[in-house]
């Protein structure tokens, strides 16, 4: 699998959740490189290819973004809004992954163009199950759009 076409960007500020997500990926034997940024500003910088993420060999444009909503600096919704108006990135599949099941957040996220909305499961088994579904669905079964400024 070409590394440039299977990178997943995880936007998550909670280091525990990052660790657990990485463990779940490891346990599911997923070889996808998991890039992690811990706030909204860094997410925008990474996706826009700005410093310190300008090297696309080390920081390739992801094929999927797992986006938390409650983030320092820019919120997840602001990142979502930015991506959807940014030419070349606007088709990027974004899955919201957050702890809020608030119907207002769900609807706003879809209004702003989220492709899917998942609530972080409590319990490692549930997280593990989710990752095992997520990876094949979005990275293998799902047809990827063309991103023009890769």
């Amino acid at each position: 699998m070409n590394i440039e076409h299977c990178t997943i960007l995880l936007v998550e500020d909670n280091p525990d959740d990052v660790l657990l997500m990485q463990r779940a990926f490891r346990k599911a034997n997923l070889s996808n490189p998991l890039q992690v940024v811990d706030d909204g500003e860094k997410a925008v910088a990474y996706l826009g290819g700005q410093k310190p993420y300008e090297d696309r060999d080390r920081h390739p444009t992801p094929v999927l973004v797992l986006l938390d909503l409650k983030l320092p600096r820019f919120s997840g919704l602001e990142v979502l809004e930015w991506v959807r108006t940014k030419e070349g990135l606007n088709r990027l599949p974004i899955v919201v992954l957050t702890s809020s099941a608030d119907s207002g957040d769900v609807n706003t996220a879809y209004d702003l163009g989220a492709n899917s909305y998942l609530v972080k499961p409590v319990g490692f088994d549930a997280l593990f199950d989710m990752v095992k579904i997520l990876q094949p669905y979005w990275l293998i079964m799902n047809q990827k759009p063309v991103l023009t400024n890769g």
């Binding site: 909670n14 657990l20 702890s99 809020s100 608030d102 319990g123």
Partner: protein, 481 residues
Amino acid sequence: MSITFKYSAGYLVPVLLLAILAAAIYQGAEQFRASTLMEERSQQLVDEIQGLRADLIDDETSGRGYVITGNPVFLEPHLAATTNIPRRLITLESLTRDNPRQKERFQALRDLAEARMKYAQGVIDERRDAGFDAAANTVKTQQGKHLMDEARIIIAGMVADEAATLQRQHTATAVLFAWRKRGSIIGTLATVAIIAIIGIVLTRNISRRTGNLLNATRALGAGDLDYRVEPEGNDELTDLGRAINLMAEQLKEHKDAVDSFAYTVSHDLRAPLRAMQGFSQALVEDCGPQLNAQGLDYANRIVAATKRMEALIQDLLAYSRIGRTQMEIRPVALDAIVEDAVSSLSATIGDAHAAIKIEKPLPAVLGYRPIVQQVIANLITNAVKFVKPETMPEIRIYAEPRGATVRLWVEDNGIGINPEHHQRIFKVFERLHGAESYPGTGIGLAIVRKAIERMGGQAGLESALGQGSRFWIELPQGATA
């Protein structure tokens, strides 16, 4: 303008109109009386003048008779006229006092009458003292006749004038009376119409606006906290509208605070919980070989505790959502809801090998479907859970129409509840059993009661220790469709 002012004005205007109308009618009656008096006076004037004329003629005739015969018997009418004429002159003076034209004529007539009386007396005295020839000579001068002729002319003028006045008065009175009559009818009708219009306008206005306020309080009560009253007018109802808007503003602030609290609970409290659970499980899985049995037991206890805490947060959120959800109350069929509730619990029911009997058909009730279903699911969950170990739960669900409401019963063969605890168990976090025997958060029944009360119903139970429980919820009857 206050409502008090509007209503006072609304009453005062018709009262004022009625007073004006009464005054106008009274004044009309007075005028009618005055004109009648004037007619009487005119008539009296005419009568007196005619009387005066007769007296003057009597006086003349009487004098002539005496002059010719010298017999005093002829003087009787003269003597009567002598007393009558001055009396009549006094009466006539007062009757002509207010009419300058007649007054002028009267003065001339009085002079003539007095001159005529004086002349008559002179001729009579002459006849008595100087004899027939002297008196006859005086008569021949025709002085008496001239005086009489002049008097006749004035009298005729006065009578004609008064007759004309009388006629005019008569016509004027008739016209006036007709106008007064028309005026009082129109005035009465207009007053009645104005009273009716003021009443309708005021009542409509107040009724429409109280209706708006009622709609606003209903909408706010149903949870639509963005509903506001349109400000209108400037009276007590306007103030009430502003007060309702202010109250809605406050409610919204409180609701927002509760919402953000719920968000904090669901988001921020769950994050460390996820970490605790994830890492305790990772500990068991990744470092299990290095742990002894006690270490493994501790780690498993941490996992179990985090699961309970997750359930607690879930239930607390559900409970707070009951208070915040905007419920659209409409008729819902209990048949379908009970069935959905049962199928949503199929795993729990299957695990417990519970037998559930639904006595169909169940009627419709007024409620908000998702919440009614949650309430019924909570009751079924309890009925399945609270049985003696090794007992197969048997649950019977049936409805009892109670006039305007419907009571839905969920009957079980469980452990039962001592009546002294019947009220307590509907409160948040109230539990009768330890987590070891019957796990739970103590929120399920609190949700039941709060949800049912928000939908305008009641919840309760009949039970005794060891005899099973019969929980009921009561909601307004829905349209039978």
